[in-house]
């Protein structure tokens, strides 16, 4: 919000009578209750555990957020189309395992494909993107052409991809083990660092996440495809009448989301170092939660890149904060579920008030 628009809103507020002022305050507190709560929680965590907002901790939060940002940006597009994508986490897992297997260091004792030398990083990056895009294309095609709900389409592809991942892990001499021993060119490219704050390095994948965010911002806000995406999400029939190719837009949104999952998988493989069938598990749930918290509405056609970033970072701050407070990991799931539920209730309330 610019200073001018803020001043205008403030002067409008001052002109209101007492009852309208109270109603406006109530609207503000209800609509922003989650943000207010999260802000208070962050302050409370910092008071209880002063290391929470130290430089290493902040860089840790930024790094964890950066690792989850591309997948959230992908899913946000699907939510704007009033859909969702449940296959995201498994695509990340498959891509991570494929990337890791092709980039294991030569001479590693448990190398998955001993006869294949370590490939250069960029061809593998291309393979990762292609795998993600292919699954995204299938999701989009089935949703757009067969008029199936994305929930069920992506549930199916989730299972298919998971099956393929398990079969892939059994291939070569791997026998279902986790894939590690990654080449230093790969780990250096992703998890290496060119900048330090104090003694804490900022991993390279933070910069990649920033670049991807800028690209997605451009695609969403400055291209015809982005405008079409919002139009289809708001009202597909109206978009169709206006000359938007609805099917093409849906397919492209899901394919773009697939590309983002592919990139996430490629980054994730090097970030965690040891990849198994559990890699990427439930990542889509965190991403959907981040989108809803960030104001990407299930109503469709509503959402901003800055909202997605805010959702990812806020969710990550809360999880890191809960760990700082020593709250049981099992209880963290309960808190995560409640946060999503409240975010959805706020989203629905906004829709009903507008209607």
């Amino acid at each position: 919000m610019t200073r001018n628009s803020f001043n205008r809103k403030l002067s409008d507020y001052k002109k209101l009578d007492k009852r309208d002022k109270a109603a406006m305050r109530k609207e503000f507190f209800i609509n922003n209750s989650l943000y207010i709560f999260l802000f208070v929680a962050i302050v409370a965590i910092e008071i209880i555990s002063p290391m929470f907002l130290s430089v290493p901790s902040i860089i840790n939060i930024i790094s964890l957020s950066a690792a989850n940002l591309p997948i959230a940006l992908g899913i946000a597009g699907c939510i704007i189309l009033t859909g969702t994508d449940l296959s995201a986490g498994r695509i990340v897992g498959l891509v991570a395992c494929v990337s890791a297997s092709l980039l294991q260091t030569t001479g590693y004792a448990n190398k998955m494909f001993a006869s294949i030398p370590t490939l250069p990083v960029f061809p593998v990056l291309l393979i990762a993107v292609l795998i993600g895009a292919l699954v995204g294309l299938i999701n989009g095609f089935c949703t757009a052409k067969f008029k199936l709900h994305p929930f069920i389409v992506t549930l199916s592809t989730q299972l298919i991809v998971y099956g393929l991942l398990l079969m892939y892990l059994m291939s070569g001499s791997n026998n279902g083990q986790s894939i590690s021993g990654l080449d230093s060119s790969y780990t250096g490219f992703i998890a290496g660092s060119i900048l330090k704050i104090g003694t804490t390095p900022i991993p390279n994948y933070v910069w990649y996440a920033i670049v991807l965010t800028v690209i997605m911002w451009f695609v969403w806000n400055k291209t015809t495809f982005g405008k079409n995406m919002f139009a289809v999400g708001s009202n597909p029939d109206a978009a169709n009448v206006s000359g938007v190719n609805v099917s093409r837009t849906i397919i492209l949104v899901f394919t773009l989301a697939g590309v983002m999952y592919g990139l996430t998988g490629f980054i994730e493989a090097a970030r965690i170092g040891s990849n198994s069938a559990a890699t990427g598990l439930n990542y889509e749930l965190d991403a959907i939660a981040a989108c809803v918290i960030g104001g990407v509405s299930f109503v469709g056609g509503i959402g901003k890149i800055r909202g997605v970033i805010m959702g990812v970072v806020l969710l990550r701050i809360i999880f890191v904060g809960l760990t700082f407070l020593g709250i049981d990991a099992n209880l963290q799931y309960v808190i995560k579920g409640l946060i999503i539920l409240v975010a959805c209730a706020i989203d629905m309330r906004k829709y009903l008030v507008r209607k």
Partner: protein
């Protein structure tokens, strides 16, 4: 109940939903309090 006018308009997952806003207000307040209570429970446990 969903009416014909609303059928093809926006609304996404909430299309045709008609919940009293007051009920949602309470749900949000109770939800936030529940999150707070769970966090406090986690800290004192």
């Amino acid at each position: 109940m969903m009416n014909e006018k609303n059928k093809n308009s926006g609304g996404g997952m909430y299309r045709g939903v008609n919940v009293p806003v007051k009920l949602l207000d309470w749900a949000i307040v109770i939800g936030v309090l529940l999150i707070l209570a769970t966090m406090v429970f986690g800290i004192v446990r």
